[in-house]
Structures are given as C-alpha cells and as structure tokens.
C-alpha cells in the first residue's frame, strides 16, 4: 500500500511534466468538444484522433486518448440534459430526468450536480484503481495461456450477452468480430486468411477504418435527413449551475450508491457502461419513497447514473490495462492503441511500464480537475455548438473520417474499408444487431486464437487443460453461469414482455444511434 502511494507520487511527476500535461489537456478539450456533438461519442472521437498519436511517444499518446475518453463522457451529459439527446448511450438514462429538469428551468442545477457527481465518482474509482491494481498483478503472475484464454472467453461472453437487445444476436456479433480479427496473415504459419487474393488485406483490417465505419458512417446513413436541427434556444447562465444546499443533500446518497454500482461493475470485464447506468437508475427508483417523481425531473435520477458511469469508466481501466480484457468497445479501442504503441497489456504492464501506468492514473485526477475548470465557463459555448445544423455537421465529419483513415497508413484502400463497414453496419443495425461486440471480438480475436493455440501446444492437444487449472476453470464456470442466467432471464422476460415493452417505449426517447452496448 505504501508502495502504491509512492508509485502514485511518481506518477504525478510523470503526468505533470509540461509536455504530458499539455497532451492530457488537449485530449480533454477535444473529447469534451466532440462529446457535445450529436452522434459523436467517445468511440468516434478516439478512433478519429488515434492516427494523430502514431508519431507521439507512448505515454503522452495514452494520456491524450484517456483525456478524450472522459472528456467526451462529460460532454455527452451536457447534450442529454439540455437537449434530450443521448449522444453517448450511457446518457440515455440521464435524459429521463435531466431534460424534465431543464424544462422546469433547473437545467443548470442538473449540470452542476452532474459535474459534482462525476468528479466524486471518478475520484473514488481512481482510489479503487490504485489499491486494486497491485493486487491484480499478484494474481496475474499465475496467468498462463489457458487462464488468459478462459478470461477472454468470459469477457467475450459478457460483452456479447449483456449488450442491449437479444443476447443471441450479441453472441453472433462477437463471433463475427472474431472472424474479422482473423483476416490477414496468420502469425504462426504465414497463411493468408480471408484476404480474397487482395494484398491490401494481408496486414488485416484496419482498426480505425472498422470503428469509423461502424460508428461514423453507419450513424450518418441512419440519421441523414432525419435529424434537421440539433439544438434549440436554451438559455443558461453560470450562476444557475450552483445547486442549493438542500439539493446537494438530496443528491448525496444517490451519488454514493451510483458510485458503488459503477465500481462493482467496473471490475467485471465485459459489462458496458450503459447497463451500469440503467441499474443505478433502477436501484434509485426502487428505494425512493415516492417513485412517481422519477421521470418528472428528480435530481436523484441524474446524480446516481452519472456517478455510476464515471466510476465505471475509471475502474474499467483495471481489467483493460492489467489483464488485457476491455470492458466495452471504447476500452477495446484504447487496448488497440496500446498495442499500436508496442505495449502489451497484461499482468506485466504495471511492472514493465510503470511510468505509463501510474502516470495514467495521476492524469485521471488532473484530467478531472481540468474538466471541471473547463466546463464551468464553457457551458454557453457548448449550447451554441449544439445548434450547428446536422446538414453541415455530417458532410464535415465525413471529410474528417476520410482524411483520418487515410492518414493512418497513407492508404486509400483503407478509406474504402470504411464505406464497406459503414454499409455492413447499417444493415446489421437495421436487423437489430448490436455492433459494439464486433469491435470487442475484432480486438480480442487474434489474442484469443493465439492463447488457445499456445494452450493446446502446452497440453499436447488435450482440452482438459482448461478444467485442470483452477483459475481457468473458475472463469469458465462464471462464463457458464452467465449463459444460464441469460437463458433464465430470457424465459422470464418473454412472459412479462408485453408489460416491459410498454414501459420501455415510454421511457427511452432517443435518436437513432448505433453505439449501443
């Protein structure tokens, strides 16, 4: 524990170096800016800016990407509360009570409470990270290929089955993603797989092209001519943002409960932030004395899910960095970024790249302070940005996508991949498939295959190796439980579907968005 604090202090030293601090700030600013824009979540922000980090040193690059990530989360809440637009799916719940608050003239208060809740939750998440990560490292040394394969399987199962909509479709998309990850030259044998004779595909499918296709082009295809104006004439002053003492007291316990929910779920690989926020909201409504207030503008309904989503975000970095298991699609992208910079996430990451890991943790705190400082005076600017008409926004974004993907490898072929994946994504979304598991499968695919093949070599082809090793067996049992639970839920849900369908239809006013997880 003492060691952790010393390491953290060293981390602050790394993060506070002017060079690193600057990139962290740039990331937070850009993330915030993009997060406010409709249809542009953390995913599009990170995938668009990933190419810019290629020439950078690994530490500032990851600091900047992490800054973009939580900056865009903050920005998403602004659109949700002020304009009823959940640009980032976890904020769909925030809309339920945030927008009614805005209509009651309390939008500023809601934003203020969101800011306090996020900062509080993020701080708790960071503290959990500091103390849990070294523990994980101790366990992690017992991890060989069978264990890594088992936990990845668990992550894939969780990511696939817990996504919004049908669990079967989520699993189908996970497998589809694993297949996409296999495209290109096989590292063990040099055989070209699924390249259809095209040399351009021999290095595999480009991560940035895949992500921008599924999250950028797919959304434009779905929203063109369907959204005209994004914002309206909301007025907001700075002093409206300060909540009263009573309002603070009212939202304190929901904040704590939301943080707890987020922290618990954050440690579980594969559970997306959207589910976390929904659970936090449901919990708050269940224990409230007067549940009728929810949906009419209850501050608790904003504080708790926002706190959950932010603590989840922080804690999510633990499985991503120390085990190499991303919790959701955004984490999968960050994992991809680490790999691009030659850093292998896993048990050894904390010991081998000490400066990066602790610097990242320290930068979380610095980044969160920067966010609060940035957002207080900038609220008025965000509101103006939201009034940019969609008809100008999407052509400009398409330009950024085309140039962004080209700059990744100076390859026009990969720009073509964007169109192909955009069309595939639109088809899949139209058929009610969730697209996030594809990205999860794509990133984990090569690692899953590699570890499976290594495990098989170790055991001379005996599958019993996964049962003989206790840690691997444990993960497999949890995975099996997950599947059984899903089946039970599905059976129970089908009996009460009519009632639930009625409720959810009333409860989710959202624009078409493909970023569901």
């Amino acid at each position: 524990m003492e060691q952790s604090i010393l390491d953290l202090l060293q981390g602050f030293g790394v993060a506070l170096q002017p060079h690193n601090l600057m990139w962290s700030f740039v990331g937070v600013l850009i993330g915030n800016l993009i997060g406010v824009l409709p249809g542009m979540g953390a995913l599009s922000a990170i995938s668009m800016l990933l190419p810019l980090t290629y020439t950078m040193h690994a530490v500032p690059a990851i600091l900047m990407l992490a800054g973009i990530f939580y900056g865009s989360q903050y920005g998403g809440a602004i659109g949700a509360i002020l304009l009823n637009l959940p640009c980032h799916p976890p904020h769909a719940v925030t809309c339920l009570d945030g927008y009614p608050l805005t209509r009651k003239g309390k939008g500023g208060t809601a934003l203020g409470v969101t800011m306090i809740a996020s900062f509080f939750a993020a701080s708790v998440g960071i503290i959990v990270m500091i103390f849990a990560s070294p523990l994980l490292v101790k366990i992690a040394f017992k991890f060989g290929p069978p264990e890594i394969f088992a936990i990845m399987l668990l992550g894939l199962l969780a990511g696939g089955t817990m996504s919004r909509g049908s669990a079967l479709k989520g699993v189908a998309m996970t497998i589809f993603g694993l297949l996409l990850g296999g495209v290109g030259t096989d590292v063990n044998s040099g055989v070209m797989r699924f390249t259809f004779g095209s040399p351009d595909l021999s290095d595999g499918i480009e991560l940035v092209a895949l992500a921008l296709g599924f999250y950028g082009v797919t959304e434009f295809l779905r929203n063109v001519n369907r959204i005209d104006k994004v914002g309206d004439d909301t007025k907001l002053r700075m002093r409206d943002m300060r909540p009263t003492w009573a309002e603070l007291k009212q939202s304190f316990w929901p904040m704590v409960r939301g943080t707890t929910v987020g922290t618990l779920f954050g440690a579980m690989p594969g559970t997306g932030p959207t589910i976390t926020t929904f659970i936090a909201y449901a919990l708050e409504r269940r224990i409230a004395k007067d549940p009728e207030r929810f949906g009419q503008g209850a501050l608790e309904g904003v504080a708790s899910p926002e706190a959950a989503s932010h603590s989840k975000t922080q804690v999510d970095f633990i499985p991503t960095m120390s085990l190499g298991i991303p919790g959701d699609a955004v984490m999968a992208l960050i994992l991809g970024a680490l790999l691009i910079h030659g850093i292998q996430p896993g048990p050894q990451l904390i010991t081998e790249h000490e400066d990066l890991f602790w610097g990242l943790i320290a930068s979380f705190w610095i980044g969160n302070v920067l966010l609060v400082l940035l957002n207080v005076p900038m609220i008025g600017v965000w509101v103006k940005l939201l009034r940019v008409p969609y008809r100008y926004l999407f052509p400009a974004a398409l330009f950024f996508i085309a140039v962004g993907v080209y700059s990744t490898n100076n390859s026009l072929f990969q720009v073509g991949e964007v169109v192909v994946f955009g069309l595939i994504g639109a088809l899949l979304v139209a058929l009610d498939f969730p697209v996030s598991p594809i990205l999860l499968g794509y990133v984990l695919g090569p690692m899953v295959e590699e570890n499976f093949r290594r495990a098989m070599l170790l055991s001379r082809g005996s599958l019993s190796i996964f049962v003989d090793r206790p840690i691997a067996l444990g993960f497999l049992i949890v995975g099996a439980l997950l599947v059984v639970l899903q089946v039970v839920f599905a059976l129970r849900a089908s009996s009460t579907r009519r009632r639930v369908a009625k409720q959810t239809r009333l409860a989710t006013p959202e624009i078409a968005t493909a970023t569901d997880d």
């Binding site: 810019l52 049908s166 079967l168 479709k169 699993v171 189908a172 497998i175 589809f176 694993l178 297949l179 296999g182 096989d186 044998s189 055989v191 797989r193 699924f194 082009v217 434009f220 295809l221 063109v224 001519n225 369907r226 005209d228 008409p389 008809r391 100008y392 999407f394 052509p395 400009a396 398409l398 330009f399 996508i401 085309a402 140039v403 080209y406 700059s407 100076n410 026009l412 720009v415 073509g416 964007v418 169109v419 955009g422 069309l423 058929l431 009610d432 498939f433 295959e449 093949r453 098989m456 070599l457 001379r460 082809g461 005996s462 599958l463 089908s494 579907r497 009519r498 369908a501 239809r505």
Partner: protein, 159 residues
Amino acid sequence: MRRLLEGISKDTLAGGLMLLVGLGAALQGMSYSMGTLAAPGPGLFPAALGVLLMPIGIAIALFGKRAGSQASGAQQQRERPRAEWRGWFCIVASIVAFIVIGNHGGLVPASFAVAFIAALGDRDNRLIDALVLGVAMTIVAVVVFWWLLQLQFPLFQWG
C-alpha cells in the same frame, strides 16, 4: 421484392444472414490447413467459429420470430422509417469519390468532393451551401492536415 421482404420477419433475415456468414467462414476456413488439436493449423480457429455461428443463426431465426410477433404494430411502423436513397447514395458516393479523385487528382479536389457530395445528400442543402462546405473543408485539409500535420498526400497530381 418488397412484398416478399415484408412477409419475412426481421429476425428470420438476421438469422439467415448469420447462417450464411457462418457457412462461408467454415468452408473458407476448412480450405486452410486444419492441423490437429495438439498442433492447431491456421484453419482450425476460423472454421470452428463458422461452425459455431451457424446454429446461433438458426436460433436467432427460430426464437426471434416469436418475440417479434409480440411487438405491437405501432412500434413496427416506427422502426420502419422512409428510405433515404438520396442521402444514402451521396454518403457512399462521397467517400468513393474521395478515393478515386484522391488517387488521380490529389488532396485538394478529393477534400472538396467528399464534403460537397455528402452535403448534397441532405435535402435542405442548396448548391451554394454544399460549395461553401466543400471549400471550407478543403482549406482545413490544406492548413491542418497537409501543412500542420504533414500528411503525406500530394495537393495535386495527375494520372
């Protein structure tokens, strides 16, 4: 064609698609060396995934139908908005134009084309709006990407 599609539920289509993808992956995977479990070849993993995907596709088609029939008519109508052929065509065409023009004309005409063509996809944009957007994006391309970020893309080229 349309009547044929409306007769089939969304989930049957979705399941069928997954069945086809699984079948394709399995067949293609088997064409690579499979190896043995003790020394897996490059074909084993993709073929196994393909085989796994097929029953899932069938399950989606079978179970999904029951769930879909319970959704009310109103919801189905809401989920089937009008086709936006003009928007869809322009979005795809804009990126295709970026590739083709980028290959033969350089960064400046390609940047203009992608924003100009995409802007025409929106029914409310006039020609002048699209022109202004195209010029604005071209300026961003030259100043931000070519000059500041040193993007390796000639401004103009022939052939």
